[in-house]
């Protein structure tokens, strides 16, 4: 297993390099110009010098190499320096945003907590709702509950977050006035009253994202449970006189969780994609909103870095899912 993990880790390096190259070249091919929004009164030679100051004068492979160097060498050095008070980085050039002229990673570090709160919470809530639904739907196949579960997950697949979010705002913020429609990120929780407000403002974005997760995970859970319920070992367990709850919760559930765990791991990147839209609706100033703003401002280093971070996450979670599959199911051997 360790062997396999190391091999996969090594293999993921060329994958990530290729992805970085694709993103870089896409941004490179693009005709957008970071100088496009500068006043027309700036003389051409000054404009040229400004471009060079942004590092745009070099050929693309030099810039690609420098970006990789900054991403993989300089930025980790700054992290270590920040964490332990050392001085590895020694004032080396960091990845600088075109828009704010501040290091890209500082901005990302400011925005990340909001996104992680909303996205992480919604994923936990979504999975927590999906698992019981999947289990009961499979155990009582074709019952009213199962039909209702199927319908709800169909809704979850079909209603896009930009409609469900807007619908929730119309109902609960506009008509009923129970919940705030804008997520206030400056809000600090100090006592019960503020905790209640935090809960109120999180409930809508979290539920919008959770609906998507629930739809997907509950379907997989149901299918996986159904596969296992028909197996011989279930009959054996019942024949031995085990109670129904032990049969279901201990034997069937454990075996059914194997594929579901990997689905849960693989679903995390897609929920970040959903977060881009949800943050736009509820005006959460998280990573997704940062990406949109950077795109609109032609802020190439920022777009490049955020997109690449997402790609790293996808590749790593794919790896985690594969390894988990092997760990949970001893029948699977990769060697």
């Amino acid at each position: 297993m360790l062997n396999y993990t190391i091999r996969r880790l090594v293999l993921s390096i060329p994958t990530l390099l290729f992805i970085a190259l694709v993103i870089f070249l896409l941004l490179e091919l693009a005709p957008g110009d970071p100088m496009g929004q500068m006043p027309l009164t700036i003389p051409d030679d000054v404009k040229q010098r400004m471009r060079e100051a942004l590092g745009l004068g070099e050929p693309w492979y030099t810039r690609f190499y420098l970006w990789l160097y900054q991403f993989f060498v300089v930025e980790p050095q700054y992290w270590i320096d920040g964490a332990f008070g050392t001085n590895f980085a020694d004032g080396a050039q960091r990845i600088i945003s075109f828009q704010s002229r501040s290091p890209v990673f500082d901005t990302i570090a400011q925005r990340l907590p909001q996104t992680l709160w909303v996205v992480g919470m919604s994923y936990v809530v979504g999975v927590a709702i999906a698992l019981p639904i999947g289990i009961i739907s499979a155990y009582k196949q074709y019952s009213v509950f199962d039909q209702a579960g199927t319908f709800v997950s169909m809704i979850g697949f079909s209603v896009p977050p930009f409609f469900s979010g807007v619908l929730l705002i119309v109902i609960f913020s506009v008509n009923l006035g129970w919940l705030p429609s804008i997520y206030d990120t400056t809000h600090v929780v100090v006592d019960w009253e503020t905790l209640k407000f935090q809960f109120q403002q999180m409930i809508m974005p979290v539920m919008v994202l959770a609906l998507q997760t629930t739809a997907q995970v509950s379907r997989y859970m149901r299918a996986s449970m159904l596969d296992n319920l028909g197996q011989d070992y279930v009959r054996t367990a019942r024949a031995k006189g085990m109670t129904e709850s032990v049969v279901i919760m201990r034997h069937v559930l454990r075996n059914s969780m194997i594929p579901v765990v990997t689905v849960i791991a693989l679903g995390i990147p897609s929920i970040f994609g959903g977060a881009i839209i949800t943050e736009q609706i509820f005006k959460v100033n998280g990573l997704g909103q940062l990406l949109i703003l950077a795109l609109q401002g032609n802020d190439i280093p920022m777009v490049m870095t955020i997109t690449f971070l997402l790609a790293v996450m996808i590749v790593m979670l794919n790896l985690v899912a594969d390894i988990l599959y092997g760990v949970l199911d001893p029948r699977i051997r990769y060697d």
């Binding site: 992805i19 697949f157 079909s158 209603v159 896009p160």
Partner: protein, 324 residues
């Protein structure tokens, strides 16, 4: 009582079981499909919304872009039921927006574009996916490379990349092909080349299993060349998974296009699509919730219908379930 019931059932079945000439397997598929209530409802709704958008503008002869400031902010006609003083008009059954443009005409026009984008992007994705899947499943030499490539594309963060593509290539394509065609091509190509991977994987798996079957061996033993092998023997047998993933692809394409429009990176605002209308209405949803409701319902119900059709197709195309 039970006997009578069975008798009645048998009578019902009689006309169907009578021998019919030229009964090919698609009739069986259709019979199975018809028994799936959700799928039938989905098919009926999809047909309705397609006809509504395609032929609606011929009946409802209002220019969707025409500004009519005097009749701006007209509420839909049903508001008059509980609010007599509301500004309603039979000439504007779904109301008008803040510039006096007719919402029903806009929904029709938007639906035309949304559905056209959905169908074209889906066809493109299915073509690429089938090509990659068949090539990699049939020719061992290509398999490794093509599948690594598929894995690579699968690890790309799709939505951010699509946003980047939209933003960066919008203006040159608009200049080259005109505003509508240019953006249409960009969106269709963007969605098409980022959503073929699942189809490719499914098709590859099925082709690899088919390749080991006796009829393929028989066909090869009489000297069938690979090209005819694929078109005559392989492709017809992988048609059902392709059709099922086509329905899923259509649903995803419609949602992706609306999401792009919703983020303000789709069509320009003078070309309404459902996502664009929704996006434009969000600012005024406090006073006019119906403007969000119409396009949102159109998107959701269409996608729901397509998903149910996919469900029904999967059952209907599975010969193990069919006829039960």
């Amino acid at each position: 009582m039970t006997d009578l019931g069975i008798q009645a059932k048998a009578d019902d079945l009689k006309p169907e079981q009578a021998p019919v000439k030229d009964r090919n397997q698609w009739w069986d598929v259709w019979d199975q499909f018809r028994s799936h209530k959700g799928a039938m409802a989905g098919l009926i709704f999809l047909t309705f919304i397609t006809l509504f958008c395609a032929f609606g503008p011929m009946v409802w002869d209002v220019d969707p872009g025409k500004l009519d400031i005097r009749n701006k902010d007209v509420r839909p006609i049903y508001v008059a039921i509980w609010d007599v003083d509301a500004k309603t008009s039979w000439a504007r059954p779904m109301g008008t927006d803040h510039l006096g443009r007719d919402i029903m005409a806009n929904i029709m026009q938007g639906g035309r574009i949304s559905l056209a984008v959905g169908w074209t992007a889906m066809v493109l994705a299915i073509l690429i996916g089938t090509l990659v899947g068949v090539l990699s499943g049939y020719f061992k030499r290509l398999d490794w490379g093509l599948m690594r490539f598929t894995d690579l594309v699968l690890s790309l963060p799709i939505l951010p990349l699509l946003l980047v593509m939209m933003l960066l290539f919008r203006d040159p394509l608009r200049a080259a092909f005109g505003p509508e065609t240019g953006i249409f091509m960009l969106i269709v190509a963007g969605i098409g080349i980022t959503s073929w991977m699942q189809t490719a994987r499914i098709v590859r798996g099925d082709v690899m299993a088919l390749k080991e079957r006796e009829f393929v061996l028989a066909a090869r033993s009489i000297g069938t060349p690979p090209r005819r092998m694929i078109t005559r023997h392989i492709l017809p047998n992988v048609l059902s998974p392709i059709m099922v993933s086509a329905t899923l692809g259509l649903a995803t394409a419609i949602i992706t296009e609306s999401a792009l429009s919703f983020l303000g990176l789709g069509f320009p605002s003078d070309f309404p699509t459902w996502g664009k209308i929704l996006f434009d209405s969000v600012d005024r949803m406090t006073a006019f919730p119906e403007r969000v409701l119409w396009p949102g319902l159109a998107i959701s119900l269409t996608v729901l219908a397509v998903n149910y059709i996919g469900d029904g197709l999967r059952d209907a195309l599975d010969p193990r379930i069919r006829g039960l």
